[in-house]
């Protein structure tokens, strides 16, 4: 009886110690939860502020535009330069566009849960979006937007950890939609060309990552939701 009791007690103690050890590693302490919560609140607050600031910038742009149009009515010199400005706003993406084109849709594939595969090949990365947009520009696209964010001359495709960011830290999440205006057959041929986006297409087969496209006769691109401010580059006289 003494032996059995000793064994059972020892088993219990070992199990208890093991259990404590298991719990203490993966379970974060309470202050970790508090810190995570604070960080996420900061992101929400900054994203709210980001939206408000963009709305303010757009409101001010409308006011400036009204003054410019008023000036154009009073002076022929102002009228001439204002007309050029309106054309230039189209070039840099400050005007919404519509027309025929193509919509490319992407989404993450399936995590293989294979410890030997650490490639994250099943995830859409910012480089994948960059590659598609680059191919569409090379195929004559006249305007491009990603998840409703207009691609403008200063757009960078970037990441912050697992986040894909475009234009003034606008965080975009899957499924991703790339809309391009241009000649639909030309854009389709470029995407279907097996020599193009070869790595992405390979991952699509291996991980079930979504990659499809659809022609459209009337697609819409929004205008860029901010403006441009140069601090260092000056025109060379």
């Amino acid at each position: 009886m003494t032996v059995l009791a000793s064994v059972s007690l020892a088993t219990f103690l070992v199990a208890g110690v093991a259990a404590t050890q298991f719990r203490s590693q993966p379970l974060p302490p309470s202050n970790r939860f508090a810190r995570d919560e604070a960080l996420r609140k900061s992101v929400n607050g900054l994203e709210d502020q980001n939206r408000q600031l963009k709305a303010r910038v757009q409101g001010l742009q409308a006011q400036v535009k009204a003054r410019e149009d008023e000036s154009a009515q009073r002076s022929s010199a102002a009228q001439q330069v204002n007309a050029q400005l309106d054309d230039q706003k189209v070039v840099v993406g400050l005007v919404a566009l519509h027309g025929p084109g193509i919509t490319v849709t992407l989404h993450d594939g399936t995590d293989p849960n294979n410890p030997a595969d650490q490639s994250l090949g099943w995830v859409i990365h910012y480089q994948d979006l960059q590659d598609i947009v680059n191919l569409l520009w090379a195929s004559g696209a006249e305007g491009v937007a990603v998840n409703g964010q207009r691609v403008v001359p200063s757009t960078s495709f970037f990441y912050a950890g697992v986040n894909i960011l475009l234009n003034n830290a606008s965080r975009i999440t899957g499924p991703y939609t790339v809309t391009a205006l241009g000649d639909p057959p030309t854009l389709t041929r470029a995407l279907a060309n097996r020599d193009q986006l070869a790595e992405l297409k390979s991952r699509s087969r291996i991980y079930g990552l979504g990659l499809s496209w659809l022609r459209g006769t009337r697609l819409a691109l929004p205008r860029y939701d901010a403006t441009f401010l140069l601090r260092y580059a000056q025109p060379l006289s």
Binding site: S154, F158, R231, P235
Partner: protein, 227 residues
């Protein structure tokens, strides 16, 4: 020979032992399941590093938007003042036009920045990554071996050849970027880390760089104005 009371005692002892072991295993299993649930939640949500980087980028973007608001307020005031005085401020409109032409790469520009020398062939994605990092660090104009680059400039690798806007460019490469030299330098150092494992890459701050190449915009054929 065992007595009935001794048998009962033995059964009771076995029951206690089995119960204790079951309890211990049960405890372990429950804790293990809870641990897995926590790991899944952690993976499903973002790690602290991602969130911290996002906060950093949002702060920077919001500061830029505040600066844009201030510049637009000033521009609107100048236009309004001229109108109230009975005239017009054409120079303000011209200034805005010039900025948009610079952004589109349509006019030659100069300013402080960095110059990166790369002594060997690079692939399209390596150049794209470097440009993205520099744009994110505030670069305002680029050229590579005499080719002006904006985000709509196609950059491709055909065989071993790098093409920019359809033009073939060969090593050695000289990448010019105009912007805050210190910020661009720091971003470039990180961006070229992988290139430096196989190529000679030199980065230098420059007080005044000139980018004289320009881009001619394509007329719209398919796209029309408005939503």
């Amino acid at each position: 020979m065992h007595s009935p009371s001794a048998d009962r005692t033995t059964r009771a002892q076995r029951l206690i032992v089995v119960s204790l072991i079951a309890l211990a295993f049960g405890f372990l299993i429950v804790v293990q399941l809870r641990s897995q649930a926590v790991v899944t939640r952690t993976l499903a949500s973002q790690d602290d590093t991602s969130v911290a980087l996002l906060i950093n980028d949002l702060n920077r973007a919001n500061n830029q938007l505040i600066q844009q608001s201030a510049a637009l307020t000033q521009q609107e005031a100048a236009l309004q003042q001229a109108l109230v005085a009975g005239g017009t401020d054409s120079k303000s409109i011209e200034k805005e036009l010039t900025v948009l032409r610079e952004v589109a790469g349509e006019v030659p520009v100069h300013g402080p920045g960095i110059e990166i020398h790369i002594d060997g062939s690079i692939m399209d994605f390596e150049l794209q990554d470097a440009l993205n990092s520099l744009r994110n660090a505030g670069a305002e104009a680029f050229s590579l071996n005499g080719n002006r680059i904006v985000s709509s400039t196609p950059i491709q690798t055909r065989g071993q050849l790098l093409t920019i806007g359809g033009n073939t460019v060969r090593a050695p490469y000289v990448l010019l970027a105009i912007g805050d030299p210190d910020q661009l330098f720091a971003a470039a150092e990180v961006a070229v880390t992988s290139l430096q494992t196989r190529l000679q890459v030199d980065i230098g701050r420059k007080p005044d760089l000139a980018i004289t190449e320009v881009i001619t915009p394509h007329p719209l054929i398919y796209a029309q104005l408005g939503q």
